[in-house]
Every structure is written in C-alpha cells, then in structure tokens.
C-alpha cells in the first residue's frame, strides 16, 4: 500500500493540445526532470530514492541516473534506478513503492509528457491489486532505433487489452485506464475520466492526477500490448501539480549543414556536477560564487577548496541576441542570452528555449530548465536553457 503524497505532470509546449511533442532540445530525461523537479521543489528533502519508468531512454549506456539526479537537484548518493517499461510498469512501481520513493515517468512517442509521484506516509492510498504479463508485440523497437508496426488495432483490443484484463478477473469496472488511446479507454471505464495526453508510462500519473482531481476512487488499470496492471485508488489528500504551457507549433527554423560538434569527455566530466546540477563553486574564504567553479577565486584569489552550492533557477536577461545565419548542425534562428540568476549576481550564458526565436529581450524574466543542449559525436550534452516566463514576451 502506497500513499500518494505529491503528483506532478508536465507536458512540453510543442505540438497541439491533441498531441504534444518534444522540442529539439528535449528528450525523456529533460521531461522527467521537469516533472520530478516540481515535486522536489514542493517537498524538499522528502525524496530518498528515485525510479524512472520510460521506454524512451535517450541512451542505453550508464550515466542516465546521474543526469537525472543532477537535474532534480538530488545528491548523487540517492538510490536511483531506471525501469524500461510502459504504463503497467509505472503503475506497479507507484503502487508498490516505499515511502520516500519518487517514481518518474516519461514518454516521447507517440505523444510526449511526463509525470512524477512522490510516495509518502500520507495522501491518497494506492494499493496493488494484480498484474498479468503477456506477449503480443504489435509494435517493436530494436536497440538501433528501428521500429516494426504490426498495425492491427482489433487484434490489440481483443487479444491484447481485453485478454489481459480478463486474466485479472476484475470485480469492478475501473475508474481509469492508462496506456490506451482515449476511445479504447472510454469503453472500459466507469465515470467520465479526462482523455489522457500520453499512452506510455506517464499516462498512469496523468490518470491518477485526473482521478484525484475529480475525487474518484476505485480501480485503476494500466495496459501495454498484452500486459496489464491494476491497483485500487482510495480517496485522500494529495497535492497535484500541473505544468503545461499553451501548446504551440515549432517555430520556422532552418537546419544548418551537418556538422558534428566535437566533445571532450574530460571537460564534460569535470563540468558535470556544476553544469547539470546548476551549482556554483563557493569560495571558502570570501563566499563569492563562481560559475563555472574555478580553482582561484575571481574575487579574493583564494585557492582553497570551493564546495558546490545550488544556484536559483529563476533569472533575468542581462543581454540577448538572435543568431540568424546558418550554423552547421544547429537550427536557426536561435536566441542566446546572458541571464542573471536570482539575486546572486551570478550570470550564465544560455540558449533560450520554449518560445519564438528573435523575441528575447533584456529584462525578460524566466526559468533555467534542463535541456539537451547538443548532441556531440552522438553523446547528448545536457545543460540549462532559459525559458522566458509565459506571456513575458510577445
């Protein structure tokens, strides 16, 4: 039995209300951080372990957990694991997790979104009821990114969804079904749940958030191909945090000629804690903050150790430009800004994200958000971009 202490959902701003998509600087990890970070900010110090459930991992090698924890602002000692799975795996992780667990779910395809659930000792109860694994690989992705689509919705419905739910022999009609399109879900549920914006792991959090917001209690099921998982949601008090800007189409951009941006992995590794955690080195002698951290204090010259300290993620534009000329490997136009972080006096040069290029102005306020700044020799390079506050610029 888990208690849902906090739920958060996040949708990227790109695409349409019917289908949100990731921007060129987003992936499952940046979405996961966006959803998870809302929870961490709402309940600081509550998270003791993190589980990420997704089928859209940007990389299959190691390092994902470190990127996630840094983006969330959690210590690198936090237990963190990644589960390759869809909606059933997400519901299973949430309904069986221990208090202190932050379950994050993220989807890129076919629609993008993310959700996070912080399990605690208070809040609405979610108890595991049952699960059933089945194999009906109607859609297959291999490790090199190739996809195979069997494309038989009736087979999915009859021998996938229905067969899996039959095996679970539910004694009641569910109040929410995650993992399916709106039409397929509607025929299986009681009540009038909202259409879910995603069909992968994150659809579970969207379904739970919707159920809690309309004070519905009962069975919640999650389906993926021929696998299903079911849990029982009791009513209770859970904080539900929503983040979704108005949907917007991609700006008109032009991709410069192909060019690989080289990467220095020693430089990547040295910068990691500061760059991905948005942390400054703080001079032990005079307290001056340095971003990036530096051996010798920019103010007093002290060369004593400079422990990292988190920087505020709100900022104001000191100066900004729009690059219009074609640049190899990048989409133009794009905006670059030097942003002052909170009242620290610390500035950061960042790309601007989440809006129309060529609109960033001096004095604009906004937030620093984790983004995939570039893919360098195939390696995703994460860091912070400036997202102007919605409505702050035309």
């Amino acid at each position: 039995m888990a208690h849902l202490q906090v739920l958060a959902t996040h949708q990227p701003c790109w695409g349409s209300d019917a289908r949100r998509v990731v921007g060129y600087d987003e992936d499952a990890l940046t979405l996961a951080v966006a959803a998870g970070r809302a929870v961490v900010e709402h309940a600081p110090d509550a998270v003791t372990s993190v589980v990420l459930v997704t089928r859209d991992l940007p990389g299959l090698e190691g390092g994902t957990e470190a990127i996630l924890l840094a983006g969330l602002g959690l210590p690198s000692s936090t237990r963190c694991s990644v589960v390759l799975g869809g909606a059933p795996a997400a519901l299973d992780a949430i309904s069986t997790g221990a208090p202190g667990t932050l379950v994050i779910t993220a989807d890129v395809e076919p629609a993008a979104g993310a959700g996070a659930a912080l399990l605690g000792t208070s809040g609405a109860e979610l108890g595991a009821v049952g699960r059933s694994e089945g194999s009906l690989p109607l859609k297959v992705r291999n490790t090199s990114g190739g996809t195979f689509d069997y494309d038989d919705p009736r087979l999915q419905r009859v021998r996938g969804t229905n067969a899996a739910l039959d095996r679970l022999a539910l004694d009641d009609k569910p109040i929410a079904v995650a993992g399916l399109g709106a039409k397929d879900a509607a025929s299986l549920v009681q009540g009038s749940p909202a259409a879910l914006p995603t069909t992968g792991a994150s659809s579970v959090v969207f379904a739970l958030a919707d159920a809690l917001e309309r004070s519905a209690a009962g069975l919640v099921t999650a389906v993926e191909q021929a696998t299903a998982c079911v849990a029982r949601l009791a009513s209770g008090s859970t904080a539900v945090l929503r983040s979704a800007r108005a949907a917007r189409p991609f700006p008109k951009t032009q991709l410069g000629a192909d060019a690989s941006i080289a990467i220095s992995l020693p430089a990547y590794e040295r910068a990691f804690d500061s760059k991905l955690g948005l942390q400054a080195g703080q001079c032990a002698t005079c307290g001056t903050l340095a971003l990036p951290p530096r051996h010798r204090c920019i103010e007093c010259g002290s060369e004593d150790p400079h422990p990292l300290t988190p920087l505020p993620r709100d900022g104001v534009v000191y100066t900004a430009v729009s690059v219009h000329v074609p640049v190899p490997g990048l989409r133009t136009p794009y905006d670059l800004a030097i942003v002052e972080l909170g009242d620290t006096g610390v500035r950061l040069l960042t790309p601007v994200t989440g809006g129309e290029p060529a609109t960033t102005a001096i004095g604009d306020a906004g937030t620093l958000v984790l983004r995939r700044l570039a893919v360098r020799h195939g390696i995703p390079d994460y860091g912070y971009a400036f997202e102007p506050t919605e409505g702050a610029t035309p």
Partner: protein, 386 residues
C-alpha cells in the same frame, strides 16, 4: 630602452585570395615592405622575425613563415593573441629591438581565412575560442560574441542601429580609394539597415568580410633609422590588455576593459593622451565595436559615440578620423595581418601619402580587440621621436 622606428611597411591586398596560399601571401607582403624602405634594404640585415597568425595553415606557423620567406638563418617566433595578434606581434618585436638584443626585426602578420567553407569557419574558430564544456555546444558563433555586447550597449547608451550603420557607411566610403581594400564600394544607411540579419543587432553590412592577406613591417633601432630612411615613423607606445574570457564574467558589457587597459599602457609609454591622436585605425569587426572602442580609447565620453558619429567627428576631415583605410569592415580582416595592416595605414598617414590622407597627421593609433573581447593591443606611432 632604445627608441624604435618603422622604416618599411607593406601588405598584400586583403581579399578572398582563393588562388594564393599563406606561403604566397607572406613573401608578397615581406617583399613589399622591403621594397618600401626608402634608401634600400638588404634582407641579410634582418636579425629576427616575429610572425602573427591566428590559425595555422599549411603547417606550423613560424616554420611556414621562415621557409616561405627564405629566412632560415634567423630566429622566427609565432605570436597568437586572438584578434589582437597583429598589434601584439609588433609589440613583441618592439621589445626585442628596444631592449638592445636585436637591431633590425621583421614583423609579419597573415591569415588564410578563406581556406575552408565560409560557414565551416564559424565552427572551426568556435572550437578554439570557447570553453569546451560550457560555451561550445551553445552555438556562440563569432558575431554573437560581439553582439551580446552590442545589444547591451544599445540598451544602455540609447544609440541605435542607425548609428551603427553610420560606421559602416563611413568605412565603406573610406575604402573606395584604397587599392588594398576588399570591399571598395559605397553603401547607404538604408542599405545597411535592410541587409539580412546575421546576429542581432548586426546585419550583414555591420560585419567584416572574411579575408585573406598578409602585412609586414621592418623595425630598427634608433641609431640605424637614418641608414634606411629620412622619414622614420616612431613606435611610441605599445600596450596589451586582457579581460575575463567568458562573457558571463564580464560585469559591464557596454565596454571592453581589455581596450581600456591596453590604451592606458600605450598612452603612458608614448606620453600622449587621446587628444593627441590625429588619426586612428580602430577594430571594427562589427560596427558597434568601433563605437564602444571610441569610448574605451578615450576619443569620446562614455555613451558619446552616437553623437560623435552624427557630428562626423570620426570621418575624414573630422576631429579624429577613424579607419581611413576602410577598417576591418571594408578593408578586410585576416586576423593575424589586421593589426600590422593598421600600422601600414598609419605609417602612410604619418608620411602624408595615404589614399585618404588626414591633413597634417603626426600621431596615429592602431587598435585590436578580440578573444572574443578578452584581449586588446594598442600601438601609437608618431613622426615625432618623443
């Protein structure tokens, strides 16, 4: 400390020299400088050479320079200091002659920018000049470095894109009679404003072209000057200044502290002030950079550049003509050569033979800023020995 004189100066035209390599351009510039010495010059007199090049082309710089110019019996040293390379190369050679270790030195600058696709150049230069982890992946192309300053400068000073355009119009006009200039055509303010955007606030006509070229100076100790010429041009002051490299560490982006520091050093050595400068070649890789530099060099008050342009103070015939050669904007900008070529222009000005002659010019200045905006070199030349 000995006084140091320029006795010969020469340069190739600045252009897209697709048909000439760096090994062609360097000997061309050196030969012109040698031929320029009034009373004749024997290359065997050269005791040491300094070569400024930003990007090595066709081999390591000092070797390419020595080999292509036939200077195998003397030491040749390469100087690289971003876009301040040219004036810094002269500065290093000056110290050798001034200190008494070398009597006759050759100072050469050159770069072969158009050796790669014009677009690839953006990336190649970026990889050299940006923090690998923090800046490089962001697409901080060369014009963006200066544009970040220019946007803040416009915001605080009240100057406009029209004022920036005045710089372009002036420098293009100056380039027309200069046979060494790359862009020898006049433009209008309307044309500058209507040009396609590059990086705001810069349109295409606010930007220097990409150029190839080389330039050379022959400098000698005071006691040898009259052996070579009756019209020596004295190197009165040299200065170099640096600043924080990453933009986020530059507290006030409406000014280039590197220039302020370099100018302060050069003025102090020369024993002159901004009011003594009759003509100046100022780093105008982008129009607004010339404006900010007026202020950093002390030619006008802070945020006074717009007014000075409106009044034509920096045009030929004005109070302090700037970039009579056409500047980087219209003469061209092969970085290693740029500062040396500025000195070639000032030598001609002080000898009264420039294509846009500033009447009665006796003291002139050459100025570079680069790095981006983290290093500046300033040279003060004069007809007057002290």
């Amino acid at each position: 400390m000995r006084r140091v004189a320029i006795v010969g100066a020469g340069m190739t035209p600045f252009a897209e020299h697709f048909h000439l390599g760096i090994k062609d351009l360097l000997p061309m510039a050196v030969s012109e400088a040698v031929a320029h010495v009034d009373k004749g010059f024997d290359r065997k007199d050269i005791q040491a050479a300094w070569f400024g090049e930003l990007v090595s082309t066709d081999g390591f710089a000092a070797g390419v320079m020595a080999d292509s110019c036939g200077l195998l019996d003397i030491p040749v040293t390469r100087i690289e200091n971003a876009c301040a390379t040219g004036n810094d190369t002269l500065r290093n050679a000056f110290y050798a002659v001034s200190s008494g270790h070398v009597d006759v030195a050759l100072v050469v600058g050159g770069d072969k920018v158009r050796e790669t696709s014009s677009r690839a150049t953006f990336w190649e230069w970026m990889s050299m000049t940006r923090d690998q982890a923090w800046d490089y992946p962001l697409g901080l192309v060369a014009p963006a470095n200066f544009a970040l300053h220019a946007q803040r400068y416009l915001h605080e000073s009240g100057a406009t894109r029209e004022h920036m355009a005045m710089v372009a119009v002036k420098n293009h006009k100056n380039a027309v009679p200069n046979p060494k200039a790359q862009l020898r055509f006049e433009i209008s303010i309307e044309k500058v404003l209507a040009a396609p955007p590059v990086v705001t606030p810069f349109g295409l006509l606010d930007c220097t072209p990409q150029s190839d070229g080389a330039a050379a100076l022959i400098i000698v100790a005071e006691h040898l000057a009259e052996k070579y010429t009756d019209k020596p041009i004295w190197v009165r002051g040299v200065g170099l200044g640096v600043d924080r490299v990453m933009h986020q560490h530059k507290q006030d982006m409406t000014t280039f502290p590197a220039t302020v520091r370099a100018a302060k050093a050069a003025y102090a050595m020369a024993g002159v002030g901004p009011g003594d400068i009759d003509v100046a070649e100022v780093h105008d890789c982008f129009t607004a950079v010339e404006m900010i530099s007026y202020e950093d060099l002390g030619f006008v008050d802070r945020f006074g550049a717009a007014k000075a342009l409106e009044a034509g103070e920096t045009s030929i015939g004005g109070r302090i003509p700037v970039n009579p050669s056409g500047g980087l904007k219209a003469k061209g900008h092969p970085p290693g050569a740029t500062g040396i070529a500025q000195c070639v222009e000032i030598v001609e000005q002080l000898r009264g033979v420039a294509s846009n002659q500033v009447d009665g010019a006796r003291t002139g200045m050459a100025h570079n800023i680069g790095g981006p905006t983290a290093v500046s070199a300033v040279t003060i030349l004069s007809t007057d020995v002290s």
